[in-house]
């Protein structure tokens, strides 16, 4: 199986090289994500309908500290803000907004309590629900975790918002201390059952780490790498949203700044 992944990666890498040779030099090319890690078969029809009707795409990010970056400028470097920029660039005909509703040490159940308020306040047509880390640390019952997610998705959908689940970051330093796999599996399972797209941040960051794009192991106080990682997450997430909403983006790398 690993060898097949390796073969797949090699093929994906060659494809990337061939594609990027023709494309314009772009900051996100260094962190391209192979399609099999990013795209699925689930659509976000509510978001598509809102786009068709009002030419707007209102996205809310519901998550924990890993949806933010520290420091006074942190919010502008973190992936929600970068996602807004990337979507505006690729969908210039739409009014795109991304608001981040993040809270430290928030479990899935605590996040679920805020869903009704989030729907009322922001009226999003798409919610990116980033979760998992804190439940893994606290050892929430995986079954309870699954139910929380599943019910939360139902509430969000009933409130007119589509959902994209985003799982935890890949963190090589802590992976033998905090076991996230059971919770990542639970999220993949819920995504499949509820037929919502899943942004597999864990697998994608692991892919970057393995292929040497980012040294996620490095100890640093500098925001440089964190900013680049968030930028890449935003870029990949934008591609997933455009794919799942069946939107026609502007050609990647087109002048937009």
């Amino acid at each position: 199986m690993r060898t097949w992944i390796a073969v797949g990666r090699a093929v994906a890498f060659c494809a990337m090289v061939l594609c990027s040779a023709g494309a314009r030099a772009e900051s996100a090319a260094e962190c391209a994500v192979p399609g099999y890690l990013l795209f699925g078969d689930s659509f976000i029809e509510r978001a598509t309908a809102a786009v068709r009707k009002d030419k707007t795409l209102k996205i809310a990010v519901l998550g924990g500290s890993s949806s933010k970056l520290p420091g006074p400028e942190g919010a502008s470097f973190a992936y929600p803000a970068r996602l807004e920029a990337a979507l505006k660039r690729r969908l210039p005909q739409l009014a795109v907004t991304v608001v981040a509703r993040t809270k430290r040490r928030q479990s899935a159940a605590e996040a679920a309590e805020n869903i009704t308020k989030l729907l009322l306040d922001e009226k999003p047509s798409l919610v990116v629900w980033q979760t998992g880390t804190n439940d893994a640390v606290r050892g929430t019952d995986p079954a309870a975790f699954r139910n929380t997610l599943s019910d939360g998705i139902e509430t969000l959908q009933a409130g007119g918002a589509d959902v994209i689940l985003m799982n935890m970051q890949y963190s090589p330093r802590t992976e033998s201390i905090v076991a996230v796999d059971a919770y990542a599996d639970a999220m993949r399972w819920v995504a499949r059952e509820r037929e919502v797209p899943m942004f597999d941040r864990l697998a994608i960051m692991r892919y970057w780490y393995d292929s040497g794009v980012f040294n996620l192991y490095a100890a640093t106080k500098d925001l440089g790498m964190a900013t680049r990682v968030h930028n890449c997450i935003a870029h990949a997430l934008a591609s997933l949203i455009i794919d799942a909403a069946r939107l026609q983006p502007q050609e990647e790398g087109a002048p937009a700044r």
Partner: protein
């Protein structure tokens, strides 16, 4: 049914327990390419089932004889002493885990991982975590098996007492507890939240089933196991489980699993020893018993001795394996984690396990020779290794 106390030494138990310990070690190293050889990738059950079943088998074998010859109190005391040893080993591993948390938390800073570091700070409250660990409520990554084993042994004097009077009653009671656990969702709470990863009320089924097999159950099952019908059923089920696991590795094929089957089957619950897992273990065991007899010649060969030695000192080697997996991951992150390193560390870990098992055997032999000659018949303690 009355129990049958055999005195034959069954090296197959040691061999497969040793192999299970190796597989558990390989599986405990995160993102280790060598772990692709382990059975969890090719079916529903994994090495934990083998380990718990054989532990139940050998516990009944060793302590059943003791209880039969010296009575309930003596055998019960020996079982509880064993549980105490495992408890101490567990706390020792916990100390290593806490040391690792402190090391990582004080040597690692990266704004990308604020959330993960917050998590570490949460675990880094020794005044709480140590108490919760002593109560077996807080169990770090990969440290769930020993607490399960402790609870199983604490219950074992009573279980064995029943087994020695009527094996069928004991097995039926065990199945009933398993069924009630599924019906009412019984489990033991954990810290900071949730429940035990290995639910002892469910996993006791494998342990008691192992004990039941040791006390004559295996002989009673023998005719059924020899039947070609059983053989083909087992093969068919293993092929089915293998096909299902393939769809986990190749998500594109997941659509080939019919919806009704997926809804009925998933999630396959490890915490409560899903029936599908138990059945998968039974199928594996049936095939093993069918093709490998107790006098299978390679059991005497020197190529199987390393695994047999490890299986004979399972507690020490299990703990060592947990520590080695920690250490291997540490080296992989700290120095280099490429494929070659994963293979080398996996091999080195197994070599260290074999070396340690050899050393423990040697030590026990020397101690035995230096002191008084053993009073008990050697077969009681040697057969099937330790409990």
């Amino acid at each position: 049914m009355a129990p049958v106390l055999s005195s034959d030494r069954d090296l197959r138990l040691d061999l497969f327990r040793g192999l299970a310990l190796w597989l558990i070690f390989l599986d405990h190293i995160p993102h280790n390419i060598v772990s692709w050889i382990t059975i969890r990738n090719y079916g529903f059950s994994d090495a934990t089932e083998i380990f718990i079943f054989i532990s139940g088998y050998t516990a009944a074998f060793v302590y059943g004889r003791a209880m039969f010859q010296r009575g309930f109190v003596v055998a019960g005391a020996r079982i509880l002493k064993r549980a105490w040893q495992i408890y101490v080993a567990h706390i020792f591993l916990f100390a290593i885990y806490i040391a690792e948390i402190f090391y990582v938390a004080s040597n690692f800073e990266n704004p990308l991982y604020v959330e993960e570091m917050n998590a570490l700070n949460f675990l880094r409250q020794p005044e709480i975590t140590i108490i919760q660990a002593l109560l077996l409520k807080f169990k770090p990554v990969n440290m769930d098996v020993l607490p399960l084993y402790i609870v199983l042994l604490l219950l074992f004097p009573a279980v064995l007492w029943v087994l020695l009077r009527n094996t069928t009653v004991a097995l039926v009671a065990s199945v009933a507890l398993y069924a009630l656990t599924w019906e009412f969702g019984w489990n033991i709470p954990s810290y900071p939240s949730g429940h035990w990863f290995f639910n002892p009320f469910a996993w006791q089924l494998l342990f008691v089933f192992g004990a039941w097999c040791a006390l004559g159950g295996a002989t009673r099952l023998a005719p059924a196991l020899r039947s070609p019908v059983t053989l083909w059923l087992a093969v068919a089920y293993l092929v089915f489980a293998f096909s299902i696991t393939l769809t986990w590795h190749f998500p594109r094929w997941a659509t080939l699993v019919p919806r009704w089957l997926g809804e009925w089957m998933y999630p396959i619950d490890k915490t409560n020893l899903d029936v599908l897992r138990f059945a998968h273990f039974l199928a594996l065991a049936a095939l093993t018993v069918h093709f490998i007899s107790p006098d299978w010649r390679p059991l005497q060969s020197r190529w199987t001795q390393p695994a047999i030695l490890c299986g004979q000192h399972s507690l020490e080697i299990f703990c060592l394996g947990v520590f080695l997996a920690f250490a291997a991951h540490f080296l992989m992150v700290e120095i280099y984690g490429g494929l070659l390193m994963q293979v080398l560390l996996s091999l080195a870990g197994i070599l260290v396990m074999v070396g340690t098992a050899t050393l423990i055997s040697w030590y026990k032999r020397v101690e035995g020779r230096g002191g008084m000659p053993p009073k008990r018949p050697p077969s009681a303690d040697v057969a099937g290794g330790e409990a």
